[in-house]
């Protein structure tokens, strides 16, 4: 029996929840809104110093987008291609690793699992310095220097990203219904054909999720790339980081907005392809 007092208490609770949500989301999204809003804002006077950027904007302009420095556009391109390469390679390593870890029956599996997931335990800044020193050493020994090269960055990010693919594919594999494979084999499909035609399609959302996380790990990383990147191979977060360390210019707002816009597209694509539930569940 719901009394009036109970109902009003429930209403009060709801109001409190809504108020809390509004507060948290406002605070959470404010910096992003300011950056995107600022990127369309015309300066009050003819200055290009960011401290004169008006927020909320008084007049709208696209001039900052036209003035994005070539180095930032290049860095956006580097980040994008690097992220794709890392996502692809991490999947090629992570999917077989997850299959082996979940389905293999042999001794030493715990140790292998520890080795494969170790990068998750290593602080990112330690990864950065560790790879840089490895590259110095390797270069001294072989005359083949990896620091400041795309390959060097790629290997560092691959190290960080692979455990994410292993994690999300393992999660999906553990929920996998073995009946599906039994049915395929009963109908005459060989084991590899079953893997290719039944298992992989069923775990595809897990693979996609893992690849997406791998891309993101690379796309947002600063602590590793700050050690491994050179002027030619700087990723976008590091380029923006250096821009913020110095006196930055409002076209950084425009390039940052482009990166944020791309993230919006990624979230929408993920929602379409696998749905939020899979995305969050196979973490």
């Amino acid at each position: 029996m719901r009394s009036a007092a109970f109902r009003s208490a429930l209403g009060g609770w709801r109001l409190l929840t809504v108020a809390y949500f509004v507060f948290i989301f406002t605070v959470l999204l404010a910096p992003l809104v300011v950056v995107i809003g600022g990127s369309f804002s015309a300066p009050a006077n003819d200055t290009v110093i960011v401290s004169y950027i008006q927020f909320p904007p008084e007049r709208l302009t696209l001039q900052w987008y036209a003035r994005i420095p070539a180095s930032q556009l290049h860095a956006l391109g580097v980040s994008f291609v690097l992220g794709l390469a890392v996502a692809l390679a991490a999947s090629l390593i992570g999917v077989p690793a997850a299959l082996g870890l979940v389905r293999g029956r042999f001794r030493g599996k715990t140790l292998m699992s520890i080795i494969l997931k170790a990068p998750l335990q290593i602080p990112h800044v330690v990864c950065g310095i560790a790879f840089l020193q490895l590259y110095y050493r390797f270069g001294d020994a072989t005359n083949f220097y990896l620091q400041g090269t795309n390959l060097g960055l790629f290997l560092g990010h691959l190290f960080l990203a692979t455990p994410f693919v292993i994690g999300s594919v393992s999660t999906v594999l553990l929920r996998f219904n073995p009946r599906l494979e039994e049915a395929a084999q009963a109908l005459g499909a060989g084991p590899w054909r079953t893997l290719w035609r039944v298992t992989l399609p069923v775990i595809a959302p897990g693979i996609f999720t893992g690849a997406l996380y791998a891309f993101i790990v690379s796309f947002v990383d600063v602590p590793v790339a700050v050690f491994l990147a050179s002027a030619d191979t700087t990723t976008f977060p590091v380029e923006l980081f250096h821009a913020l360390e110095q006196d930055f210019n409002p076209s950084s707002l425009a390039s940052a907005s482009l990166a944020a816009g791309f993230a919006v597209l990624l979230v929408m694509a993920a929602q379409r392809l696998v749905g939020m539930e899979t995305l969050l569940h196979s973490k």
Binding site: P96, G100, M112, I115, P123, T162, D221, V267, Q271
Partner: protein, 288 residues
């Protein structure tokens, strides 16, 4: 089923283990080895090994203070993310409406953009003549504009922005694994909302929340962006110190020793908490 016909799953591990193992051993071995050589000028290192770098870290209070600063900042960040984020995660996990998907997408979005962009926004919002200072001064709450730069509060804020979305995603997953029927059963038997939360949901989520806390603590211990941009050279955390020692002072041995300290500290804390967690789960098993 014919045994010879089935896939040997273990063999699939060969290539992944080779790649991951080489990267892991290569990177970790080289810097750990570097850490026992003292630095000479011009980026050279001594030819004989010694524990001099570690002795210096252990005896110079500056390094220990830096470790302590990094630890409490990371603990504060992890605590804030879990406490502020759990109500959001819990409500979204139980909400059956289109709003849940939209709000979740926004949460995911914040973890898909680099912290640098969020800190960029914070710098604009909190600058001397920025929106926040104008509002606070307009309301008469402060007389002088204040700044976040160079304060540990600023560094904590930046790190919370870096991890909040991720922490909500993590806790959402945890709440979703707990059947809603358990809460309903408690409610039917007359437990109030608060009581259901305290006696049913919270204890079931607790191990997951501890894992969440640790994950964010780990991330924050190794995070570099917030302290570098908002610390303003006054709040120097261990990651910033490592970067400066390596790239500005060109002291590879010392930088490696500091990195080894950070790595050991995080790994030991993780192992200790795994044991605590096991106890926790065990205790729950006994209760049930």
């Amino acid at each position: 089923m014919d045994r010879s016909e089935s896939i040997r799953w273990g063999q699939l591990l060969a290539l992944p283990l080779l790649v991951s193992g080489l990267l892991l051993l290569g990177s970790q071995f080289v810097f750990l080895k570097q850490s026992i050589y003292i630095d000479l000028p011009f980026g050279k290192i001594a030819s004989d090994w010694s524990f001099a770098n570690f002795r210096r870290i252990a005896t110079d209070p500056f390094y220990l203070r830096t470790l302590w600063l990094t630890t409490w900042i990371s603990a504060a960040v992890a605590g804030l993310c879990v406490i502020l984020g759990f109500p959001i995660a819990k409500t979204l996990a139980r909400l059956q409406s289109r709003w849940a998907t939209l709000l979740l997408s926004l949460i995911v979005l914040t973890s898909f953009i680099t912290t640098v962009i969020q800190i960029f926004g914070l710098l604009i919002l909190f600058r001397g003549d920025g929106l926040i200072n104008q509002m606070l001064m307009g309301l008469g709450l402060i007389q002088q504009p204040f700044t976040l730069i160079g304060t540990s509060a600023g560094v904590v804020l930046g790190l919370v922005y870096a991890s909040f979305g991720f922490s909500v995603m993590l806790m959402y997953g945890i709440v979703r694994t707990i059947p809603v029927s358990l809460e309903e059963a408690a409610a039917i038997h007359g437990a109030s909302r608060l009581r259901v939360f305290r006696k049913v949901l919270l204890p079931l989520c607790l191990p997951g929340l501890v894992v969440g806390f640790l994950t964010i603590f780990n991330t924050s211990m190794g995070a570099f962006t917030s302290a570098a941009l908002l610390g303003g050279g006054r709040v120097i955390t261990l990651p910033v110190l490592i970067q400066r020692t390596m790239l500005l002072d060109v002291k590879y041995g010392m930088a490696a020793a500091l990195a080894a300290l950070l790595l050991a500290f995080v790994v030991i804390l993780n192992l200790a908490s795994v044991m605590v967690l096991r106890r926790l789960r065990h205790a729950q098993g006994v209760m049930a």
